[in-house]
Every structure is written in C-alpha cells, then in structure tokens.
C-alpha cells in the first residue's frame, strides 16, 4: 500500500462520495458545495496525472468562478428545498436506477477493456516531462491550436454579452 495508492483512493473516494451526495441532496446550496468538494477530488487526481496546471485551472475557473456563479444565482432566485413530489412513482425510480447501473457497468467495461494504448508511450516524441508542462501547453496553444484559442476568446465575449442581455429586466 504505497502512499500514491492511498492518495488515489482518498481522492477518488472523496470525488465519488460527494458526487453521490450532490445527486441525492435536496437543497441546491448543499448540492453546489458537494460539487466543490468533488472538484477538489478531481483536482488531486489531475495532479497525480502530471497535470498541475490543469488542476489549478480547474480550481480557479470551475470551483472558484463557475460554481460561485451558481451559488449567486441560487441566492438571487432564493431556491430552497425541492418540493415534495405529489406522486412518487416508485416503479420508475427503481427502473431508472437499474438502467443507470447497467449503463455504468457497460461504460466501465468498455473503458477498461480499451485501456491499452496502441503505441508504447515511451516511443512517442514530445513526451510530457512530469510537472513541467506549462511551457509545452503554452507553445501548443499558440501554434497548433491558435485558431481554436481565438475562437474560444470570441465565444467567451459572446457569452458575456449574451448573459448580460438575457438577464436584463424588461423596462415595460
């Protein structure tokens, strides 16, 4: 039981447990907080995958900005508990859970079977040296993926303007 295995078990367990909590929770505020902890678990897993830059970006953008936006909207709309359902539909619930488990098993089997990479990784040039990927990512963003980068910049501008217009109060 090396330290790495323990860390992986802790992070993955945390992420999965709080993802389940997010789905089960009735209050939206607690759902958002459970998701924050899930993202923290995913961040730790990303660091273990030699992607510390992406891990920091996930915390800053996802957990620190997008989920705060969710929280503000929940407080703006003053959403409390989900109301009790009038008809509980037990058969459909059980059917839904069973089919979700079946889908999960199917996907799991597929990903685990396809796990062997087609090319031996050490034979590939440009391998990621551990924990030093920031210059590589920067260079890729501005050479191979330049068009996508500029397009995403325009997309973000459009999204900001769109959000402003959509949430404006009608003056009539």
């Amino acid at each position: 039981m090396t330290a790495e295995l323990l860390l992986f078990a802790f992070a993955a367990g945390l992420a999965i447990a709080f993802a389940l909590a997010m789905v089960v929770e009735k209050t939206p505020v607690r759902s958002v907080l459970s998701l924050v902890v899930t993202f923290f678990g995913i961040t730790v897993l990303a660091v273990m995958l030699a992607a510390p830059f992406i891990a920091a970006i996930i915390m800053i953008v996802y957990a620190g900005a997008i989920l705060v936006l969710f929280l503000f909207v929940i407080m703006l709309l003053n959403l409390n508990e989900e109301a009790r359902e009038k008809d509980s539909r037990p058969v459909q619930r059980v059917l839904g859970l069973v089919s979700a488990l079946a889908l999960g098993g199917l996907l799991l089997g597929l990903t685990l079977r396809a796990g062997k990479p087609p090319v031996e990784p050490s034979a590939l040039p440009g391998r990621i040296p551990a924990l030093d990927e920031i210059p590589l990512v920067g260079r890729l963003l501005f050479s191979d993926y330049l068009f996508a980068f500029e397009a995403v910049a325009v997309l973000l501008l459009a999204a900001a303007v769109g959000a402003l217009i959509l949430s404006r109060r009608r003056m009539d």
């Binding site: 996802y62 936006l69 050490s122």
Partner: protein, 101 residues
C-alpha cells in the same frame, strides 16, 4: 506509476455515470445543470488520463478548451434560468410545459 491507469479511467467513468443519473433524475433545472458540469469534468479526467498514457500534451490543451467552453455555457445557461424564473416564477423543468397539451 504505481497506480494503474485503469483505476483513473474507472473513477472518471463512475463520475460520468453519476452525473448522467443526476441529469436525468433531478427536476430542478439548476441541479440538472450541475450534473452536466460534473459530466464535463469527468470527461476532463478521462482526457488527462489518456494524455498521460500516450505522453501527449495536447490533452491538456483540449481540457483547457473544455473548461473555457463550460464557463461560457454556465454564464449563458444561468442567464436563461434567471429570465425563465422571472417569467414563470419556477425553475422546475416539470412545470415549464406551456407548449404541451
């Protein structure tokens, strides 16, 4: 690495399925949206795992773009929810059914 990549793939897949279940079973539009965010992040994890297995740094770039697009989508989606709430006073997807008989 002493942790087999299959373990990371399994974790990512389980998170994706949990997000999918949440997106299908919840009635509050915000909770559905949160589950969709969880699905996107699970896919990020899978991308990073495959990138590490192949030694390819372009997986990091793809994850970067996914996060940026998720941010844009969250902003617009939440603005839509706010506008919806203002006109219907509810945000549950079961009640927003004016076009159905």
């Amino acid at each position: 690495m002493s942790v087999p990549p299959a373990a990371f793939l399994a974790a990512g897949t389980i998170l994706f399925v949990i997000g999918l279940v949440g997106a299908l079973l919840k009635r509050n539009a915000l909770s559905i949206f949160l589950s969709i965010e969880l699905m996107m992040n699970a896919v990020n994890l899978l991308f990073l795992t495959y990138g590490r297995m192949r030694g390819d740094p372009s997986s990091h770039v793809i994850v970067f773009f996914v996060i940026a697009i998720a941010a844009a989508e969250a902003a617009v989606g939440l603005a839509v929810f706010v506008a919806l709430f203002r006109s219907r006073q509810t945000i549950e997807v079961d009640r927003v059914n004016l076009l159905k008989w």
